[in-house]
C-alpha cells in the first residue's frame, strides 16, 4: 500500500493535512466439541483509516475495500464529511511526540507451532473438563491466535508502527448436580505458546465450577460486600468514560468541575499506566501518534484531571495525555492501586457478608453518569471471616461514587483483565443484595 502517494493525493484535493493508518490482522480460531475440532476459522483482513482536515474541520473514513481508485473516492468522502460539520473545534493532525516509550515487541510466531499440536492441546483442555464427573457438557472450548500490525503516517512526517501477537484459550464447562446447573470458565491469554498449559487451565476451570455448584440465593438485605479483583475491574471499566475530557466538555460527567477536589476516600488511588508490566499489553502511542504516559486519575482521593486527545488538549490548553483510541478517549491500563491485605486477611473481619466473583449484564445494569449500578451477581457467602458456600441469583446494587468513599480495605491481589483494567479485591462496607425467599 502506497500511503505516501495517497497522502499526496489528499493534499492535492485541498486537504491541509492527511493522516493514514493501515492495520493488518490475521487470526486462527479453533473450536473443539466432544473431542474433535468442530470449527476452524482463519482470517486475513486489512483496514485503512483516513483522517483529513478540510477548511479547519476533520473528516474521517474507514474502509476495507482497498484499491487506488477506492482511496481516491474515500478522500473525496473525507472532504464531503468535513463539510457537513458545523462545530467549531480544533482539528489537529500531529507532528509527533519528542520521544516514545520503549515497548518490548512480542516476536513469537504462533504459526510456527504445528497445527496438530494446537489441536491436540485444545482437545486436551476440552476433554479434561468434560471427563470430570460433575460436568454434563462443555459448551465450547476455544483456542485463538492473533497477529496484528499497524502503521500510522501523516503529512506532517509522522511514521509510527506497532505490532501485536497473542493467543488465548478457554473452555466453558457446564456443571450439574441434581437440578442445579452452573457454568464456569477461565480465560487464559499468552504471548508464547509454551505458556499454554491445557491441563492446568482445565483444572482451574473444574475447580471454579465445582466450588460454585449447589448455590443458594440470599435473603434480601444490606451486607458487607467483597468484590473479587476481576469484578471490581469490571466496575472500574464501566465508569472509566467519566474521566474523559470530552465527557467534561460535553457535560456528560459529574466530575466536570471537580478537578483538584476530593471525589474518593483518601487512600483511593486510580492510575492510568500504558506500560504497567502486569498488564497484558504495553502501549507506546495512541491512535493520533501521541506518546502514552503514566498518570494518576485520582491521587489520595483527589481528582487529578481528565484524559484527553489532541482536540481536547487544545480546547483545555493542556498537554496531550495520549488517550485517543478507536475514535474516542479511552484509558490504556487503568488500575486501582492495591493495598497490603491478603485475601484471607481482607475477609477475616466479616461475620455475615458476600464475596462477589461474577457480575452479569454490565452493559445494562449501570448508569455511568449517575453512578448507580444494579447487577446480577454470583459468588460466595462469607461467615465468621471465611468463605462458606456459593450463592447466585442475587442482585447487588449501589452507587459507585458512594462506593469510592466506602471502602473498608484493599487487597494486595492486583490483577489486570485483557481489556487493560486492573484492581485488587475490594471490601465495601455495605451494599444492597436482593435475592429470593425460599
Amino acid at each position: 500500500m502506497n500511503t505516501k502517494k495517497w497522502i499526496e493525493l489528499g493534499l492535492s484535493k485541498g486537504l491541509s493535512d492527511v493522516e493514514i493508518s493501515v492495520s493488518e490482522s490475521t487470526s486462527l480460531k479453533l473450536v473443539s466439541y466432544e473431542g474433535k475440532i468442530e470449527q476452524n476459522t482463519i482470517s486475513d483482513v486489512s483496514t485503512v483509516s483516513i483522517r483529513g482536515i478540510y477548511e479547519g474541520n476533520i473528516g474521517k473514513v474507514k474502509f476495507e475495500f482497498i484499491s487506488d481508485d477506492q482511496v481516491d473516492k474515500m478522500l473525496d468522502k473525507v472532504i464531503e464529511n468535513a463539510k457537513v460539520l458545523t462545530v467549531k473545534e480544533p482539528a489537529i493532525i500531529y507532528e509527533g511526540s519528542p520521544s516514545y516509550p520503549e515497548v518490548k515487541v512480542n516476536d513469537f510466531d504462533f504459526a510456527s507451532v504445528p497445527m496438530t499440536k494446537k489441536v491436540e492441546d485444545l482437545i486436551t483442555l476440552e476433554m479434561r473438563i468434560r471427563n470430570n464427573e460433575k460436568v454434563s457438557n462443555v459448551q465450547t472450548a476455544v483456542y485463538q491466535e492473533n497477529t496484528s500490525g499497524a502503521i500510522l503516517t501523516n503529512s506532517k512526517g509522522l511514521h509510527l508502527t506497532r505490532k501485536n501477537r497473542f493467543a488465548y484459550a478457554y473452555g466453558v464447562g457446564v456443571f450439574k448436580e441434581g437440578d442445579d446447573v452452573t457454568t464456569a470458565y477461565e480465560f487464559d491469554i499468552f504471548k508464547t505458546y509454551d505458556q499454554f498449559d491445557p491441563n492446568k487451565l482445565a483444572d482451574i476451570t473444574i475447580e471454579k465450577g465445582l466450588k460454585s455448584l449447589g448455590p443458594v440465593s440470599l435473603p434480601t438485605k444490606f451486607y458487607p460486600v467483597v468484590f473479587s479483583n476481576e469484578t471490581f475491574s469490571e466496575l472500574l471499566s464501566v465508569f472509566s468514560g467519566l474521566y474523559s475530557a470530552e465527557s467534561a466538555y460535553r457535560h456528560l460527567t459529574p466530575f466536570e468541575n471537580k478537578v483538584g477536589e476530593s471525589i474518593a476516600q483518601s487512600n483511593f488511588n486510580l492510575i492510568d499506566d500504558p506500560l504497567h508490566e502486569k498488564a497484558y499489553f504495553q502501549i507506546p502511542f495512541d491512535d493520533e501518534g501521541v506518546a502514552c504516559k503514566k498518570k494518576y486519575i485520582i491521587k489520595d482521593g483527589v481528582f487529578q484531571g481528565f484524559m484527553n486527545d489532541l482536540k481536547m488538549a487544545s480546547i483545555f490548553n493542556q498537554d496531550p495525555t495520549g488517550n485517543s483510541f478507536s475514535g474516542g478517549i479511552q484509558t490504556t491500563n487503568l488500575y486501582l492501586e492495591p493495598g497490603e491485605k491478603s485475601f484471607d486477611a481482607l475477609i477475616e473481619p466479616i461475620q455475615d457478608g458476600v464475596y462477589i466473583t461474577e457480575l452479569v449484564g454490565l452493559h445494562a445494569g449501570v448508569k455511568a453518569i449517575s453512578g448507580d449500578f444494579s447487577l446480577q451477581a454470583s459468588g460466595f457467602k462469607i461467615e465468621q471471616g471465611k468463605v462458606v458456600y456459593p450463592v447466585n441469583m442475587i442482585v447487588v446494587s449501589g452507587n459507585f461514587f458512594e462506593v469510592m468513599n466506602a471502602i473498608e480495605a484493599f487487597g494486595n491481589d492486583l490483577k489486570f483483565d485483557v481489556s487493560g483494567f486492573g484492581s485488587p479485591s475490594v471490601f465495601v462496607k455495605s451494599l444492597s443484595i436482593s435475592g429470593e425467599s425460599k
Binding site: T41, V61, F63, L85, G327, S370, S432
Partner: protein, 461 residues
C-alpha cells in the same frame, strides 16, 4: 464481485476433498454516522465493510475463512486452504439457480438524501430535547444508517443477493440538578431509508426523552424485594428475547445446552403465552428478505398457548437436529459464520386491558422502560434493567423508582406470566451473540409476571 461461473467453479473446487457443503458469502456494507451534540454537527464518520467469507461443512464440522480481499486468486487460495482440512471423495456442487427477486421497499435510500437534510432533522430534534427544560444540560442526536449488499452462493444451488437498508435515530438527553445527573436514551430503528423520520414520530420521542430525564431526577432507588412486575409493551419484550428467544436458538438447542431441548410439543410456559419470531415484517429493524444463508425469511410460530412449536434453526444446526431451517441464519458481517438468530420476536397480544392489569395489582413494580439484558442459555439465568419504573400500590401508579434490576430463570418466568394485554408494540436493539451484533426487534403487549426478584439500592444501609 466475482461472476457466477467463477463462483460455481470455486464451489466445485471446495468439494474436491469430500466436504458435503460449501458456501461463499460476499458483502459490501457502507455505514454512515452523523452526530449532533447540542446545537452543532459534531461528528460524521463513514465505515466500509467489504469482504468474503468461505464456509465448508463435512459431517457437521465447519471450516471458515474470511478476508477483505475478494479477488479470484485470493478466494481460490482461501478455498484451497480450507478444503485441505478434509479428506474424502470428491463431491459435485448443484448448479447455481437464478437469484430470486428481493424487495426491500425502501422509499428514499439514505445515499440519495443530501447531508443537509439529515443534519436539519438532527439539529431540530436536538433543540426539542435541549429547550425542553433548563435542567437539560446536554442533548445528543444521531442518525446511523447502513446499506448491506450481500451475495450468498452454496453447493446446494443457492445463489441469492439481497440489499438491506438500516436506519436508526438515536435521541439522548441529560438532566442535571443538585449534582445529580440522569441520562435517557431512545433509539428507534427501521429497515428503511430517510422515511424513518415519518415512521417513528421522532419529535414526540425527543420530547419524551427530555421529560423522562427530568422525571428521573426525582426517582428514588427502589427497595430490593420480590414482587409482581408489570412490564410495559414494546421494549418490555426484551424479557422474552433474553429469557426465551436465545434459549430457543439452535445454537443452544443442538448441543442440549438449552433448558428447552427436547421440549417440542410440551408446555414451556403459561397458556396465555403465544410467541413468534418473524423475519419478514415490513420495514422492521430485524427484517431481511433472505437470511444470510440465502433462505427466504418467514414467520415462525415459536410458542402457542404455552406449547413449544418450533426452534430457530440455521442450515448446519438443522442437519444435527433434523429440524427444517427456519430462515434464521444470520451474521453481523462476513467475519462470522452464520448461525440461528432472532429477527422480530414478540409475544402475541392477549385480551387484557393495561388499566385493568394495573388495577388488579395490589403492590408491585410497573416497568415502563427497560434497558438491556443478558442471558446464559445454559442455565436460563437472565437479567434486565428497568430504566423508568413506578411503584404500583393499591392498583395505582405511585413513586418513580430507579435502579431496578430484574433477574430470573427463563424457563420459570414463562410460567409466571399471568396477564397479557392487547397493546402489542416493538422496540429495537442490537443483539449480540456468537455470530456478532445484528439488528433485532423485541416486542410484546403489556404483561404481568406474578413474582420476580427485583434488585435495587433503596432501603436502609
Amino acid at each position: 464481485m466475482l461472476n457466477k461461473n467463477v463462483i460455481q467453479d470455486l464451489l466445485n473446487e471446495a468439494l474436491v476433498t469430500g466436504a458435503d457443503f460449501a458456501e461463499l458469502f460476499f458483502e459490501d456494507t457502507n455505514q454512515e454516522a452523523i452526530r449532533v451534540t447540542s446545537k452543532d454537527v459534531s461528528n460524521v464518520s463513514f465505515n466500509n465493510v467489504h469482504g468474503v467469507g468461505v464456509r465448508l461443512i463435512k459431517n457437521n464440522d465447519v471450516v471458515y475463512g474470511y478476508s477483505n480481499d475478494v479477488s479470484e486468486e485470493k478466494v481460490r487460495a482461501l478455498v484451497m486452504s480450507l478444503s485441505a482440512s478434509f479428506s474424502g471423495d470428491k463431491k459435485e456442487a448443484t448448479p447455481l439457480r437464478e437469484a430470486l427477486p428481493f424487495d426491500n421497499k425502501v422509499k428514499r435510500p439514505m445515499e440519495s438524501v443530501p447531508a443537509s437534510e439529515k443534519t436539519e432533522k438532527l439539529l431540530a430534534l436536538s433543540d426539542v430535547i435541549l429547550s425542553h427544560d433548563p435542567r437539560i444540560v446536554q442533548s445528543i442526536t444521531q442518525l446511523l444508517s447502513w446499506k448491506q449488499s450481500i451475495l450468498v452462493a452454496n453447493s446446494n444451488g443457492v445463489y441469492q443477493n439481497d440489499e438491506r437498508h438500516y436506519a436508526r435515530v438515536i435521541l439522548m438527553g441529560v438532566a442535571s440538578e443538585n449534582g445529580q445527573m440522569q441520562q435517557v436514551f431512545e433509539g428507534p430503528g427501521r429497515a428503511m431509508g430517510f422515511e424513518i423520520f415519518d415512521d417513528v414520530n421522532p419529535f414526540e420521542l425527543a420530547k419524551d426523552v427530555a421529560e423522562r430525564a427530568i422525571h428521573m431526577l426525582s426517582a428514588q432507588p427502589i427497595v430490593a424485594q420480590e414482587m409482581p412486575v408489570v412490564l410495559a409493551n414494546g421494549w418490555g419484550g426484551v424479557i422474552f428475547h433474553e429469557a426465551c428467544g436465545h434459549p430457543l436458538e439452535a445454537t443452544a438447542v443442538a448441543k442440549g445446552l438449552s433448558p428447552f431441548t427436547g421440549k417440542l410439543g410440551q408446555a414451556i410456559g403459561s397458556s396465555v403465552v403465544t410467541a413468534y419470531d418473524d423475519g419478514d415484517v415490513d420495514g422492521a429493524w430485524g427484517r431481511t428478505s433472505f437470511d444470510d444463508e440465502g433462505m427466504k425469511t418467514q414467520k415462525n410460530l415459536l410458542i402457542e398457548n404455552g406449547i413449544l412449536k418450533s426452534y430457530l434453526v440455521d442450515y448446519r444446526n438443522g442437519l444435527t437436529m433434523h429440524h427444517k431451517p427456519t430462515g434464521s441464519g444470520r451474521r453481523q458481517n462476513y467475519k462470522f459464520p452464520p448461525t440461528s438468530r432472532m429477527n422480530t420476536t414478540y409475544i402475541a397480544p392477549g385480551k387484557d386491558k393495561v388499566e385493568d392489569i394495573i388495577k388488579d395489582t395490589k403492590y408491585g413494580l410497573y416497568a415502563k422502560q427497560l434497558g438491556g439484558g443478558q442471558v446464559s442459555p445454559a442455565t436460563g439465568e437472565f437479567n434486565f434493567s428497568v430504566s423508568e419504573g413506578y411503584m404500583i400500590e393499591d392498583g395505582k401508579l405511585t413513586t418513580p423508582v430507579k435502579g431496578a434490576m430484574l433477574i430470573g430463570k427463563g424457563h420459570e418466568v414463562l410460567f409466571k406470566i399471568d396477564k397479557v394485554a392487547d397493546n402489542l408494540d416493538f422496540g429495537q436493539g442490537m443483539c449480540g451473540s456468537i455470530s456478532g451484533a445484528i439488528p433485532t426487534d423485541v416486542g410484546q403487549p403489556t404483561i404481568r409476571v406474578s413474582k420476580m426478584t427485583v434488585g435495587g439500592a433503596g432501603g436502609q444501609a
